[in-house]
Symmetry: C2
Subunit: 413 residues, 2 copies
């Protein structure tokens, strides 16, 4: 192998890494943690904050904290903190619920924005209407999507009287028609790490008069998204991967400002009411992003996320992207050096324009290989049927980690 070459190269890259200092803001150990695309590492800012939330805000102030500790406004305040990371102006993102629940809000909301489905005027007081001739009654969904998006999109289609049509992202432009109400796509594929062409796809969908919904789970915090710039209509994402919010931390929903007045959520809980404490029997939606809220926010998880997001205060997402590509480039180079030919095959595209922040390697007996890697202190994960997945979080993964991971992988064969 070529350890004598790769090791010094890693050291040189680490020495030149502008983000190297960020690692000190996380709790890490002597393992190589390449599973931040599943669960981000613990930011040092979190434990103290959570203790304060539990002991002082809940334990001492109790109910007063809804106002005095800013609990009530946390969903939109934390949304505004995520906004610059995904290229959104303030007032368009609310945090809360799981990604799955937000996919549901987004797909039903999109069908309604498109004037599609079989819901007609008078809904809520009587039966749903029928779609008119030529109505928009089709929802396109990424056929290779993370499963929950597909399951939830199917439910949303069923409830709005639409047909669900799975297509690959490449097939979207050809599949768009006057029947298309909404298109649900992943920015980065969870399995292969492939980055899809959001600007071009969003433009095609827009030109077809349909609504585009983007799942940012595997891109937010790893690369620039540009929601506002590229005319994205709706987006959702989790916060426990590259945003390091903690296990099952709340997800978020982006509703483009221009769509907010007509955004009609299928989950109009009291938190999205224009006057929640009026406690009126009639529902009047709040203005702006707030209408994406539903019920009482889970404050402990939410405020842990808020603390976790503070690590981004002085970080540019462009610098993160630059390092991310350097990390995955170097990993592929090291794999080529260390792993005997033919043992693994990269499923992740080579061109930078098509690569997220992970590398997926196809490998025989991948489940066992990953178990052995983990025993050796290299933490990635295994995805059925034969995929080794390695996520590279630029805030805390260094080039020395990358070299070690590839070297240990090479020793598996």
């Amino acid at each position: 192998m070529s350890e004598p070459e790769m090791r010094p190269k890693a050291e040189k890259l680490d020495a030149a890494d502008e983000l190297a200092g960020m690692r000190a803001q996380f709790v890490l150990d002597d393992t190589v943690y390449l599973d931040g695309n599943s669960l981000g590492a613990l930011p040092r800012s979190v434990p103290g904050r959570v203790e304060d939330v539990v002991r002082r805000q809940w334990g001492s102030l109790r109910i007063r904290s809804w106002d005095e500790s800013g609990w009530w406004t946390a969903p939109e305040r934390i949304g505004d903190r995520i906004a610059p990371l995904v290229g959104a102006a303030p007032g368009q993102i609310v945090v809360g619920d799981s990604t799955s629940v937000n996919v549901f809000k987004a797909v039903v909301g999109a069908v309604r924005l498109a004037g599609g489905g079989s819901e007609g005027p008078g809904d809520g007081e009587g039966h749903a209407g029928r779609p008119g001739p030529g109505g928009r009654d089709e929802v396109l969904v990424d056929a290779t999507t993370f499963p929950t998006d597909g399951y939830i999109a199917a439910s949303a289609a069923r409830l709005t009287g639409c047909t669900l049509r799975p297509v690959t992202p490449d097939e979207v432009p050809g599949a768009l028609s006057e029947r298309t109400a909404a298109v649900l796509l992943n920015h980065v594929d969870y399995r292969t790490g492939r980055l899809h062409d959001l600007p071009s796809l969003a433009a095609s969908i827009h030109a077809a008069g349909a609504i585009s919904i983007w799942d940012l789970c595997h891109s937010a915090g790893a690369l620039p998204v540009g929601l506002d710039e590229h005319g994205v209509d709706l987006a959702v994402g989790c916060t426990y991967k590259y945003l390091n919010g903690g296990p099952g931390s709340p997800a978020y929903l982006y509703v483009r400002e221009a769509h907010q007045p007509r955004f009609d959520s299928p989950l109009p809980g009291w938190n999205s009411h224009a006057d929640p404490f009026g406690m009126t029997p009639d529902y009047t939606p709040a203005p702006g992003a707030l209408r994406g809220r539903v019920g009482t926010p889970d404050i402990l998880s939410m405020l842990a996320l808020e603390a976790a997001l503070e690590v981004w205060d002085d970080v540019s997402i462009d610098a993160v992207r630059t390092k991310s590509l350097a990390l995955t480039d170097f990993f592929l180079e090291c794999v080529e050096s260390y792993v005997p030919g033919g043992e693994v095959e990269s499923l992740t595209p080579s061109p930078h324009t098509e690569r997220g922040s992970q590398v997926a390697l196809r490998c025989a007996d991948a489940g066992n290989v990953m178990r052995r890697l983990i025993d050796r202190g290299v933490i990635g994960d295994f995805r059925e049927p034969d995929v080794l997945r390695f996520g590279f979080t630029p805030l805390y993964v260094g080039f020395g980690d990358v070299e070690r991971a590839a070297r240990v992988l090479g020793e598996m064969f």
Copy 2:
């Protein structure tokens, strides 16, 4: 007033209180906290547990905790911990999402269980069907409900092609017909504290061939519910009131065992799949209560709740009910003694069979009166337009607290 009479009576009642020792398990101060029906006090078991979850489970074990720390199975494990408090055998409750989201699952699920609405065979692949003649196309909802239940029920009705009909709980028996698909009721009214007759109403609804859904937010942890015994079909509830789970802690969904095979959730996220890590594009629901799960559970909030529920280990819900009624009886007696006649009027029914664990007093200028009470260390809350609300959590409220609260209230006039 009659302080010389009521004070010794309070002392006597406190001395005889079998649950008096439970107070030491909560973090309290020298205020009288009568807002546990909004946010329960902090159990002493919680801060240390949360710290362990953050620092060790997340910080050190990271992704391994999904298995090793029992994160993955938390929703059903914690559900089984709530089960005995609401009279349910194990395997019927899952914890997760907000109450509003669970109301949505329950109402759509109920319409489907009843064979109602305008969803027909072939849904998911095409347009929703029409209800047949005589089909069940009506959802009854408590007209005096906490608003979110009504808003969400309206959305569920709209999406399933049903009509929503608000009725008071008393009107339910007369309103039931062959058109009724589902009935959503509160066990205890959030405003007046009135306890509705669950056994009788559930039986009427069952006899009409409809599905009953009960919101237990204001009863679970305060009085016996008897879900299994009384043939309740579906139930939801929050965990941050009498269960002390913390601000916005996750809610729960009960699906009666007999209904589970046909329970068809409108939020079929990957966590409710029979084989979640199979990551298959087709959805196959998990057996049992698990099909009420949706997305990745919010672990910090969820495990704080689990710790909070430990205080119930040696407590019988019947003892809680006995003390709860003694507390509200004594409060009404003290109010009668201390508050000048005509200044307040109880909205809470006198008969024990119709009373939850709170007392609501109508009062002129109630918002200001509550602010002054809080300044004097008596914490209740105000509900529009003219209601003072006092919640009595038997685990940590004593009779001396009750006497003091009524005495200070008397001094407001």
